[in-house]
Symmetry: C2
Subunit: 159 residues, 2 copies
Amino acid sequence: MSEDIANSPNQSEENVQVEMEAFRVFLKSRGYRVTREREAIAESILLNHDHFDVDELFLNLRSKSPVSKASIYRAIPLMIESGLLAAVYLENGHMHYERVYGREHHSHLRCLTCHKIFEFNAPELTQVEKRISRMMGFKSEGHKFEIWGLCANCQAEKK
Amino acid sequence: MSEDIANSPNQSEENVQVEMEAFRVFLKSRGYRVTREREAIAESILLNHDHFDVDELFLNLRSKSPVSKASIYRAIPLMIESGLLAAVYLENGHMHYERVYGREHHSHLRCLTCHKIFEFNAPELTQVEKRISRMMGFKSEGHKFEIWGLCANCQAEKK
DNA sequence: GTATGTGCAAATCATTTGCATTCTC
DNA sequence: GAGAATGCAAATGATTTGCACATAC
């Protein structure tokens, strides 16, 4: 099978509503409360699939429905736990996250020059995860694969 | 081809000397100075292949040839640049490194319970790196693959 | 001798936390 | 209302940096 480039357009309004509802269900199932802040944070993430960090999220929220950074930092583990979010990489000392809910698992190429992130899907990685786990007696829960280097654009600009 | 478990015994004294020399050559080639501190740090790392963080390195050095943490933090980028070291993962907010010089490239399994790291080698990962890079017009410089889950021991202890 | 490297202590900066106040259930 | 969640400001903790002194070249 050949790989797909995960190109995830922004969510349609209805999709967002479906996923927001799933998030509320998650919160309730854990005894957490559904607050205005958590909904604002989740909605902001669901509307924007790109890779982001806490500052970007904070700024995005500022105009419509401001939420303190403390609350963002407190909400992120919940969103990860709920499967809405994943921490994908560290850059300049701060973590970057991405929307994961309802998206296909994928891996990343990161350009060392322009710092852009490109996504791809390589099915054999899951095979490797399974094979190695079996071999090592491991009960695997996930994997991460990342390639770094120079993107096409930055290669061109170097000349 | 089947994978090898990278089990890297501590270095023999002679190997260490060869690699120390290579490090010195690297330093000089860059116009950096060969200092007692840098040698002590490099030697400590070369003698100990395990995954470690700055505190462990600091403690290892303390008895024989104490080096300040500032110097350790300043030396690490040099050691990475020289190919002696690689930053492998973040745990509890501090980076973990491993000796890389002269070792085969390998990937990691990390146990979420006991936090132990297991190493393995899966050659198809390099194929994936090449194939995807070609497809995306990327000039790749490396990759990282990590599996997380529950190691055999921790699965057993859970019962 | 000169510039680089070191140690120390102070500064950064992302993230976490204590606490009084505000909300959800 | 009771207990959770929020915002703010202060605390934390890893890493970085300024500076005076030491040392490699």
